[in-house]
């Protein structure tokens, strides 16, 4: 019977071997600073590229371009509609869940805006009365980008039931294009993540392959004195893990550096649109995910290289031959 104390002893031995590999591999990496730095730099940049695009898209999405004034439905009242009617409709809309924000533009305000924007000031003065109708801008309630068309459609359907409204207008095309562009960007990000994920695995695999080759004598001695594949593999796997972790960390540092550098010029640009916007990073959970994925990919890359080599050590192989 296998006793519990025997199992516990085995577990403890396993833990000791792992903690030994974990720290000794880090020690070796820190000893070879230049080589480690170069590998980590390549990994960090490889991870930064999809990460940067992902964050750019997340920020674009977070700008709520499709909401507020951008996704507002413009409502034109029939000519001759009184202000009282307009106010009544506004009151109705404010109680309706399909509408979120209502802005009223009186004919006088409309004319003033037009005068400023068009430069037809002089000719407008020749008009005896204001030809513009009452206008209202109504936004659908906030929500995800994908469903905005649906929400706008519901809102428009409701607006069309109101008799005093002549016509409603909404720039679908613009919104559709934005939505499709964001979708395209997301597909691109997925593709880049796959591509650069493979790159991380390959870079680590190649580095570890050279590492294994330069330790061939050592590996042989370990195997001869009874080290199993697991024991031989461990330091290399942990080296791969450290590479991945450091690469991920560097990618995060690069990201926040880029955000810090860009936030100034971007703020100035957005100011001209009258928008105040704070650039967002990736948040703690995503950061953890990135580090985990980096570590996992590094581990995988190292595993591939070591596995190929360990086949030479099987019984009847090259082990111990001079």
């Amino acid at each position: 019977m296998v006793s519990i104390s025997h199992l516990r002893r085995k577990n403890r031995a396993w833990l000791r071997r792992h903690s030994y590999s974990f720290f000794s591999s880090l020690g070796v990496l820190l000893q070879h600073k230049t080589g480690t730095l170069m590998t980590v730099l390549v990994l960090g940049i490889a991870m930064f590229l999809p990460l940067g695009l992902y964050v750019t898209l997340a920020n674009l999405d977070g700008m709520n371009l499709h909401q507020d004034e951008w996704s507002a439905v413009t409502v034109f009242f029939k000519t001759g509609t009184r202000q009282a009617e307009v106010d009544r409709v506004a009151g109705l809309l404010e109680q309706n869940a399909q509408a979120d924000k209502v802005t009223i533009i009186s004919p006088a305000e409309g004319l003033a805006d037009f005068r400023d924007a068009s430069g037809f000031g002089g000719s407008l003065d020749m008009l005896e009365e204001n030809p513009l109708p009452w206008v209202m801008q109504v936004s659908p309630p906030p929500g995800s980008t994908e469903r905005v068309e649906e929400r706008v459609a519901e809102l428009t359907a409701y607006l069309n039931t109101i008799k005093s409204i002549e016509v409603t207008q909404f720039d679908y095309k613009w919104l559709q294009r934005l939505g499709r562009m964001l979708e395209l960007g997301e597909t691109l990000v997925s593709f880049l993540i796959l591509l650069f994920g493979i790159a991380v695995v390959v870079v680590v695999a190649n580095t570890i392959r050279l590492d294994v080759a330069s330790h061939a004598d050592e590996i042989e001695i370990l195997a001869l004195v009874g080290a199993g594949n697991a024991f031989i593999r461990q330091p290399f796997l942990y080296t791969g893990l450290w590479y991945g972790l450091m690469g991920g960390l560097l990618a995060i540092i690069l990201l926040y550096t880029a955000l810090a550098v860009l936030s100034g010029p971007l703020g100035l640009l957005l100011e001209t649109y009258g928008t105040v916007f704070v650039l967002r990073g990736i948040g703690g959970t995503n950061m953890l995910w990135l580090l985990l994925c980096g570590a996992g990919l590094g581990w995988l890359g190292a595993g591939i290289s070591v596995h190929r080599y360990l086949r030479l050590l099987r019984v009847g192989g090259q082990l111990g031959r001079h």
Binding site: G226, V315, G316
Partner: protein, 222 residues
């Protein structure tokens, strides 16, 4: 401890390394294995260490039939066997004490125990004062003694040595064989492959003689 029953080994390509070899080595005995180079000494040791599988016949080491032992247990077989090599096979980037500690690191022992037992093993081969030295700063004889310390540190029941005196002068070689004798007196089975016939004869132990892959002679201990 070691039993060969009609063991043959041929390598792919047809070269025959061992043919129909049978013998039995009792636990706790010290046995020499001699023969000209290419007679099959190394192949025999490789079979005992499970570096190689027999083509025919049975190899039984420490009551384990190596023919039916799966590959993944080969490390376990090697952990139960102390092995000493002609070229020492020490890790030159690790201190003497760390080299000796290697089998215990593999077994996953506690650091304190590892330290203690490594020192004890080095003391036994008379190298305690060199524990922090680098292998390459030691003489050939000293390096070989480090190899022996590493082989006996986990107290395996079986010790194998492949031409351990290959590069040593006769005086040092005799000293080394005495060390093996001491180890064997503690109950460890020792099998030494050596072509140094004069020295082997002086030790008055059992000698297995291989010739062209066959067991040509089995001289009992005097």
């Amino acid at each position: 401890m070691i039993r060969f029953e009609r063991v043959s080994k041929h390598y792919p390509g047809g070269s025959r390394a061992l043919t129909d070899v049978s013998f039995h080595i009792e636990p706790g005995s010290m046995v020499f294995l001699t023969g000209h180079s290419g007679a099959g000494k190394s192949t025999l040791l490789r079979l005992v260490m499970m570096l190689e599988r027999a083509s025919r016949g049975q190899v039984i080491v420490n009551q384990r039939n190596l023919g039916t032992t799966p590959d993944r247990l080969a490390p376990l077989v090697r952990q139960g066997t102390g092995m000493i090599f002609q070229d020492h096979k020490l890790l030159n980037n690790k201190t003497v004490a760390d080299n000796v500690a290697l089998p215990m690191m593999i077994a996953g022992l506690k650091y304190a125990d590892i330290r203690k037992r490594a020192r004890a093993a080095l003391d036994k081969v008379g190298l305690l004062d060199k524990e922090n030295a680098w292998p390459l700063t030691l003489s050939g004889g000293e390096q070989q003694r480090v190899g022996i310390a590493r082989a006996i540190v986990s107290m395996p029941p079986l010790l194998l040595a492949d031409e351990p005196t290959g590069n040593l002068d006769p005086g040092l070689s005799r000293e080394l064989f005495r060390l093996f004798e001491e180890v064997s007196e503690k109950g460890v089975t020792v099998l030494i492959a050596s072509h140094d016939l004069d020295l082997v004869r002086q030790m008055r132990k059992r000698v297995l003689v291989l010739s062209n892959g066959r067991l040509a002679d089995d001289i009992p201990a005097a």
